[in-house]
Symmetry: C2
Subunit: 184 residues, 2 copies
Amino acid sequence: MDSTKPALDRIDHRILAELQNNARLSNKELAAIVGLAPSSCLARVQKLVRDGVLAGFHAEVDPAAVGIGIQALVFVRMARHQPRDMQAYWDHLLELPEVLDLYYVAGSHDLVVHVGVRDVDHLRELVAEPISDFEHLGQIETSLIFQHHRSAVLPNYAPEPEPAKATRSGSKPPRKTRRKATEP
Amino acid sequence: MDSTKPALDRIDHRILAELQNNARLSNKELAAIVGLAPSSCLARVQKLVRDGVLAGFHAEVDPAAVGIGIQALVFVRMARHQPRDMQAYWDHLLELPEVLDLYYVAGSHDLVVHVGVRDVDHLRELVAEPISDFEHLGQIETSLIFQHHRSAVLPNYAPEPEPAKATRSGSKPPRKTRRKATEP
DNA sequence: TGTCCATGCGAATTCAATTTGGTGGAATTT
DNA sequence: AAATTCCACCAAATTGAATTCGCATGGACA
């Protein structure tokens, strides 16, 4: 049925969690954390990237360091909801560098725009011009953000299919180093 | 005056931009991009981390892979705005794994809560129980998210103080490899 | 003009990433 | 049930990067 759903096991989820917390973990460290050999761990990470489960790796930077003095949410209600118009306005907003997040939602607002600007003047200009500059707009309401928190890691609601490889007897029966083929 | 503001130069901002796009860039690659020797580049990155400008490195994972089927914005209006109550409710929300973003804003809403849940039942339970379970709450409105976009990199409004090291004559007068101290 | 400081470089060392060939267990086939 | 296939894993080896270090350069300041 679902060709795109090999389902992630416990170790995969562990890898995702660790990399969400710290994307700079070296493969060796990650392998040690999840209890795998570096080579096996690397193979899993590469697979997760190939499958699009790991969609990117981003540094988090202090907004103040790039001159963002204030942030705001702008709630926009459209006067018309033609898909054509919505899409055009959506694309328009995405081109604004000030737009950090863009939500298209059901309910009494249509769009919620999270913006980061230099100062109040910048905010006023942004809302007055590029954001309001569109046909078929209804109400616009701007709310200053006092505080914002973003969780770094997503919850995990996925059922784990298998013990992924239950190390049944104790912890690690270290395999006897076998090497005979290339040996005098 | 400002002991914590050595101001970032052009190269620093370039580093920030690149790492926001791809936090897994190797130091060597990054150095090549920004036009620095690996050792110099590493020193800058380490400094940016020490100074808190680089606040973290996070993997971005596909919500579907962890079982998040739907996302929503929950708009909450408080009945009372006592700082004590606000803070308690804020902390309460932060403990919910479903909460992905939390905004405390001025305006007609007080809190905007971005949640990721398994399905509609999960959403109903979340809003009915943990989110509504607090005194002094006013209106609550839940809006399904149809589409969400997050920009990976912040804009840069910071003025660049100095050419960081203007290579005035041409590009790279390759320094004559000096090594005399340890030479016959 | 001389000194200090910040920043950069290259070479050397240390350590990690990646490749490869082989192993064992579990599931599947005979 | 025995044989076979397949898959994920591991260890070792190689390649290549991260990190350290001593020194050089150029601007700021006196």
